[in-house]
Symmetry: C2
Subunit: 201 residues, 2 copies
């Protein structure tokens, strides 16, 4: 068990994940296949069945890994002890950085059809990402009401905003001449609504 190489290939699971991720970003989501990935590391196309069960299992493992990395992008060492506003800036900028660095994986992370959405590992990593956003969303929002309700709304609102921005960027839905030298941190204040929930002006 101390030997790095075990069984036939060694630790096929990690190797397969790594290879699948390369294929994913190189050939896109439609170009990813078990057979192509298997050939890349010299195993048969049914080898991953022992480790992932099926294609859905492989994609779920990839996505779980993706959420874990996304969490890393959102917390930078420099701003670990800083105030919430600085941490929010780090989290949002890191979020978008991850998405633009891994666009195909990022798209897969929100697929409705291809993942095992009740996978406990996946749910845990999703929850970890949401917790980070929940923290930096705490002093947003001017809406009246019980504190926990306002906080809950702000979490939802902030994740909605940053996810939408990241996906629209990576999907190419924004015209590039609108985006010159603008980061997500420049965009966020622009949605601050003056529209009142009840009081006008």
């Amino acid at each position: 068990m101390v030997s790095p190489r075990k069984y036939h290939h060694g630790n096929l699971k990690e190797a397969f994940l790594e290879a699948a991720r390369e294929v994913l970003e190189a050939d896109g989501l439609t170009g990813l296949s078990l057979r192509k990935t298997a050939e890349k590391i010299g195993v048969s196309h049914t080898a991953p069945k022992n480790h992932f069960g099926s294609m859905s299992g492989l994609l779920t493992a990839l996505v779980t890994q993706g959420y874990a990395e996304l969490a890393d992008y959102m917390v930078a060492d420099e701003t670990a002890g800083a105030d919430r506003c600085a941490r929010r800036g780090t989290a949002l900028a890191g979020y978008v950085d991850f998405a633009t660095a891994n666009p195909a994986l990022y798209e897969l992370m929100f697929a409705r059809d291809r993942l095992v959405n009740d996978d406990p590992d996946l749910m845990r990593e999703v929850g970890a990402c949401f917790s980070i956003l929940a923290d930096v969303a705490k002093d947003l929002g001017w809406h009246t009401g019980p504190a926990e309700v306002v906080t809950g709304k702000s979490q939802i609102a902030l994740w909605s905003f940053v996810h939408g921005y990241a996906q629209l960027i990576t999907a190419g839905r924004f015209k590039k001449d609108n985006m010159k030298n603008l980061s997500v941190l420049d965009i966020l204040p622009a949605i601050s609504a003056k529209i009142p929930p009840d009081t006008p002006e």
Copy 2:
């Protein structure tokens, strides 16, 4: 040319689009196939090639239709002449309604890999949707700067927010107990940032 039925099938193009859409929402994006759709309306599986070219062409046509319908959802007759705040409420609520009513199609509308993204019809319909959002975003934002810059940012910000909300809802990324009796209009004010653009605290 006055006869409703032409050629072998009639207007196969529209029939195929309709059938494909049914398969899409019934069996999901992974369950949609040319063969299944063709069998549904009793034609060979290569028949759509004349009308759509390839699978990408079919999906692009579906998505183009989707953007057109999304625009309809965003403009309600009742609020056509109302003030911008009312129109914004209609647009945002309609946007989310469309996404929740057509979740599989909505996901496809932002796919990076499967569409002919430079298709002129598609670009036109995407632009129409963006224009509607641009209109109702005009009085958002408190950031200083030239008016058109602020407006441009608000358009991007508002689309980011509402798209993110719609996708996270349809992808099941929000826990349901957080979402009780909340609509997108309740969430929007919660992101209004008190964070300063340049001055701390």
